[in-house]
Structures are given as structure tokens and as C-alpha cells.
């Protein structure tokens, strides 16, 4: 770690904060400034102009957009996310109940998908051009292309309806035994894994192949090192950076998938809370959930970039 690397990391962190600020501006502009008069909307079209004006003052809508944004941002940073309109409960309270279940789902998915994707990706890179590789590349291409709800529907049909191993679309909050945990999480995790494993395996394969094409691997191969040893001892240590980058990027696809999966399986997580909020046009809740998701997304992309910076030997050795 030298000053050059530190400078790069510092600059990347700074850029992440600036991006997050811009994202918050866009989110606020779309949800609070553009849609017109929230006071008029909440009172309905029969309200008198005096009533609307009074509510505008009460909601702070008479102030210019920039001031409202700054006010919103400071209260967001101090942890005050406002009150949900549809059920008059503080947004923080609503979200606190839901965040752990979504994190649980994400953690279970990551735990299953990362090792699986690494094995598939490295395996198909080793047998490049062969039958297994061809099948893998076809399979992952299909998986990247299909919508999550197709995977979910087929999984429910096969495992719940035809085989009867798991119960479909039911969620019990009481998890007492590991078996019950498996039964509850198997279908959502399987659905999320399909798409993410495909992404991650493709990127891992590309990263390993990139190393296998380099002269030092050819040298190792020419001096008679066995193929397994070439991959595990020579190529893999150099591919760790790109692979970590691939893992972080693929996990950010979780954010889109989780919205569909939580809805189809009736899973009480933060994404289904957000979908409900959008349906009810509960703005404070929508803003808070969006900022949470965008922060998570940017963090994953940041981690991916940091992995790429830290693993670049040209930066390490300068």
C-alpha cells in the first residue's frame, strides 16, 4: 500500500459520496419537486384555495425546492425519515422490522451463489471450448435472459406443486429448526441464485480465461505443470481481483431481483414494503426505501472498484 494507491482509493471514496449526493437530488426531484402540488393532491379537488394554501405552508411546500431538499437531506442524515402517510407510523419503525429479513435473504443467497458460481466459472474456464463449457455458456446465457418470475413460477410448479417438497408462497416468521429454515428459504434463494450465479459464473470465467491467456501461464504449461495446478496456483491468485470485482457487481443485481422475489413469495422484506409504498403513493416511505437501495447498490459497486484497484499489481509495485 503506497501513497499512490491511497490517493486512488481516497478519490474513489470521494466520487462515491458525490454520486450518492447526486442520486439523492434526483430521487428528491422526482418524488417531491416534479409531481406538482402535494397539498392539492392530498386534499382532493374540492378543497378551497385557503385550505390548500394553509396545508402548503404546513407541509413547507411554499419554500423553494432547494431549501426543501436541504431540509430533507439533513433530516435524512440525522435518521429522521418522516412519517408514513398510509399508516401513520414513523418510516424508521416500519423499515427496522423489514431490513433484517431482507438481509437474511441476501446473506443466504450470497452464501449459496458465490461458491457455486466460482466452481462453475473456474470449471468452465479450465475446460474452455469443451462440451461442459459450451453447455455452461448456453445455460448461463439463458439464465441471464429470463425474468425472475419465470424461474420462480417454474420452481414453485416443480418443487411445491408436482413434488410437494416445499410449500408454495407461504412464509412463517417462526423459524425454530434448520429444516424449517431450509423449507422457508429454499424457493426464494433458489430463484435469486439462478440469475446471480449465471452472471457471476460468466464474469469469473472471463477473468480466469484472461489470466490463462497470459504468457506466464503458457510458460508454466510448457514446463509441464499439471492443468489443475496451473489454474489453482498460477492463474487464480492473479484473477482474485477481477473475481472479487465480479462477485460484488453480481451481488448488486440482487437489488433488482429481490423486488420481484419478495412479491411473488409474499416475503416480508424491505422490497415488498417499497412496492406497497409505491402502490399507495406513500412518498416518505418510497424516498427512504429508494435511498437505502441506492446506497446499498453504490456500496457494492464501490467495493467492486476497490477490489479492482487493490488487486492491480501495477499500482501495488509502483
Amino acid at each position: 500500500m503506497n501513497s499512490n494507491t491511497l490517493w486512488l482509493i481516497g478519490r474513489r471514496l470521494g466520487a462515491a459520496i458525490v454520486t450518492l449526493l447526486i442520486v439523492s437530488m434526483v430521487v428528491f426531484a422526482i418524488t417531491a419537486v416534479l409531481p406538482g402540488d402535494a397539498a392539492q393532491q392530498s386534499l382532493g379537488q374540492f378543497a378551497t384555495p385557503e385550505q390548500v394554501a394553509a396545508l402548503r405552508v404546513k407541509m413547507g411546500l411554499d419554500q423553494p425546492g432547494v431549501l426543501r431538499y436541504l431540509h430533507w437531506l439533513t433530516s435524512l442524515l440525522s435518521g429522521d425519515l418522516g412519517v408514513s402517510v398510509s399508516n401513520a407510523v414513523p418510516v424508521t419503525e416500519l423499515m427496522a422490522g423489514r431490513v433484517p429479513s431482507t438481509l437474511m435473504l441476501a446473506a443466504a443467497t450470497a452464501l449459496v451463489s458465490v461458491p457455486l458460481a466460482l466452481i462453475l466459472g473456474i470449471g468452465s474456464a479450465m475446460g474452455r471450448g469443451g462440451r461442459i463449457d459450451g453447455f455452461m455458456s448456453f445455460f448461463t446465457l439463458m439464465m441471464v435472459a429470463v425474468p425472475e418470475f419465470l424461474v420462480a413460477t417454474l420452481a414453485v410448479l416443480i418443487f411445491a406443486v408436482n413434488l410437494g417438497w416445499l410449500s408454495a408462497l407461504s412464509y412463517s416468521s417462526e423459524i425454530t429448526s434448520p429444516l424449517q429454515f431450509m423449507r422457508t428459504y429454499a424457493l426464494p434463494v433458489m430463484t435469486l441464485c439462478c440469475v446471480i450465479v449465471a452472471q457471476m459464473a460468466r464474469m469469473t470465467r472471463a477473468a480466469v480465461i484472461d489470466q490463462l491467456d497470459s504468457p506466464y501461464v503458457e510458460m508454466a504449461r510448457l514446463k509441464g505443470v499439471s492443468p489443475v495446478r496451473v489454474v489453482l496456483r498460477h492463474a487464480l491468485p492473479n484473477a482474485i481481483g477481477p473475481i472479487a470485482n465480479a462477485i460484488a457487481l453480481s451481488l448488486s443485481y440482487l437489488l433488482g431481483g429481490v423486488v420481484i422475489v419478495e412479491t411473488i413469495f409474499n416475503y416480508p422484506g424491505i422490497a415488498s414494503l417499497m412496492v406497497d409504498a409505491v402502490t399507495n403513493r406513500d412518498m416518505a416511505l418510497v424516498q427512504a426505501c429508494t435511498m437505502l437501495f441506492c446506497t446499498a447498490y453504490l456500496t457494492l459497486v464501490l467495493i467492486a472498484d476497490l477490489c479492482a484497484i487493490l488487486s492491480n499489481p501495477r499500482l501495488r509495485n509502483q
Binding site: V26, A145, P147, F149, I264, V278
Partner: protein
């Protein structure tokens, strides 16, 4: 796989040869066929539909496949085949409009930013970077929560979330082309910026831009049908393929075709597009000798 070929090169052999040499040429054909089928269904579907789209034609709800109703019936007893033939119009049509718009806008902005002064380039790039860091589904959700769902809004949202990606790819290509000698020559010759962008740069990046348009089309199909699946996309009485999955979700426990078939329809469309594009781009990279 360099087996000597002794048979005369008929079409079938050429196909098999292509498969051996490059792995999957027939997959590209399958992809192209799927794309063409769905395009035809989107154009002619409404005329082919055997029943009016909203008409309850059967007493059986979630009916299975039968001669009278080839794809079964939905949760109200409407003919699924007619509903899919009509619904494909929305899925394919809206996604195609959005894909063409976002690719066109992204490419124009890329060309503009390459031939314009540094500050304008920087401004456009930063603006695009800001939009790329909002996941497309999140952007779609907040747009719908703010403005309510409509067909126009869905197209706008898709354009907004997929233009930055198209811009990035087009810009990176345009920057490379702009550094080539013939563009420098054109500049020295005193050609105008518009001429350099449209006559010198654009034709040389058209193929990758079109391939990118295809990929973007696939992503937009997934985004729009995902939104419809959540009940936030195309609103009743109209229904795209995603809405068909949503409205028949009650048939999941019985394994009704009414829910499986629209989901499969979306799957075949996006898989077809991806196979086709994958094939095209791998053939191009071989032709140019790249990896």
C-alpha cells in the same frame, strides 16, 4: 475440431460444420427465429386472435390446454391464446420504442460529446454517470410512485434508465474512432463537426451500436414486464405479458397454463434476443480477429 470434410458441402453439413467450428451457430439461428416469430406476433397478433381479448368464452377458469382453447383459459375463463397474441403487442412494441429511443439518444449524445469542447463532454458524461448509479427498477418504482403508471411514463422511464448505458458504450467506441487518422484528416480538411460525427464516425460504429440496441431491448422487456408483474406497469384493461402473469398468479398452486405460458413467452423472447445478439457479436469479433 479440425476433422477433414469429405462430404459435399450441403446446407446441412455447412450448419454442422459451423457448429463444430464455432460451437453454436444453430443457436444463433434459433435466436433469430424466436425474434422473428415474436416480431410477427406483435404485428399481426390482434388479427390472428380467435376471440375478442376481453370476452369470457369458457365456464372453466384456469382451463388446461384443449382444442377449443389451445393455451387454456385464464382466471375469468378468457381465451389465453387471444390474450397473449394481443398482449405481445405491448411487450414487444413498447420495449422496441424504448430501446430505439434510448440507443438513439445515447449514441447522439456520445457523438455530440466526442466532437464538442471538453467542458460539454465532461458535463454530459457526469450527468449520465449520475443516472447510471440508480438501478433501473428503483428508478421505475419512484417514477411510478410520483407520476402514476401510464404507457408514456413507462417508455420514458425505460429510456431514462437505459440511455446512460448506451451512451457509455457508444462514447468509448466513438473516442477510439475519433483518434484514427482519417478522422484527423477530415478535421484538418476543415469539415464541420456535424459532418465528422455523422459521416466519419457513425457509420464505423453502427454494427456494435445495433447489437447494443438488441441487448437493451432484452433488458427493457425484462424491466417492463417486471413492472407489470408488480401491478405497476401496463394498467387494465390493457395487458402485456407481465400483467398476464400477475393476473393469473392465483392459478400457480394448480399449475395452470395461464400463468406458465405468458412467463415462458417472455422467456423465449428475451432468450431469443440474447442468443441472436451473442451469435452476431461473436461472429464479428472473429471476423475482425479480436477476442
Amino acid at each position: 475440431m479440425n476433422n477433414p470434410i469429405v462430404k459435399p458441402p450441403t446446407a446441412a453439413v455447412a450448419l454442422a460444420l459451423g457448429k463444430d467450428a464455432h460451437g453454436s451457430s444453430w443457436l444463433g439461428l434459433v435466436g433469430a427465429a424466436l425474434c422473428a416469430t415474436w416480431l410477427l406476433v406483435a404485428i399481426f397478433g390482434p388479427w390472428l386472435a380467435p376471440h375478442p381479448v376481453g370476452e369470457v368464452v369458457s365456464d372453466t377458469v384456469f382451463g388446461s390446454l384443449s382444442a377449443a382453447y389451445p393455451l387454456g383459459t385464464d382466471y375469468l375463463g378468457r381465451d389465453m391464446l387471444s390474450r397473449i397474441l394481443v398482449g405481445a403487442q405491448f411487450t414487444v412494441g413498447l420495449a422496441l420504442i424504448a430501446a430505439v429511443l434510448s440507443s438513439g439518444l445515447g449514441t447522439s449524445c456520445a457523438l455530440l460529446s466526442v466532437v464538442s469542447p471538453k467542458w460539454l463532454d465532461e458535463l454530459i458524461s457526469r450527468l449520465m454517470d449520475a443516472f447510471i448509479s440508480i438501478p433501473s427498477k428503483m428508478l421505475a418504482l419512484i417514477m411510478v410512485s410520483a407520476f402514476g403508471s401510464s404507457v408514456t411514463l413507462l417508455v420514458c422511464t425505460a429510456v431514462l434508465s437505459y440511455t446512460p448505458g448506451a451512451f457509455r458504450i457508444a462514447r468509448s467506441m466513438a473516442v477510439n474512432i475519433e483518434a484514427l487518422e482519417y478522422v484527423q484528416v477530415a478535421r484538418t480538411r476543415g469539415e464541420r463537426r456535424l459532418y465528422i460525427a455523422c459521416v466519419e464516425i457513425l457509420p464505423n460504429m453502427l454494427n456494435p451500436v445495433l447489437a447494443d440496441l438488441g441487448l437493451r431491448f432484452g433488458f427493457i422487456v425484462l424491466l417492463l414486464s417486471g413492472m407489470s408483474f408488480l401491478g405497476l406497469g401496463v394498467q387494465p384493461p390493457d395487458a402485456d405479458l407481465g400483467s398476464l402473469v400477475r393476473e393469473n398468479i392465483g392459478g400457480l398452486n394448480q399449475g395452470a397454463p395461464a400463468i406458465v405460458i405468458p412467463a415462458l413467452a417472455i422467456g423465449t423472447l428475451t432468450i431469443g434476443v440474447n442468443l441472436f445478439i451473442d451469435r452476431l457479436s461473436s461472429r464479428r469479433s472473429r471476423r475482425t480477429g479480436g477476442h
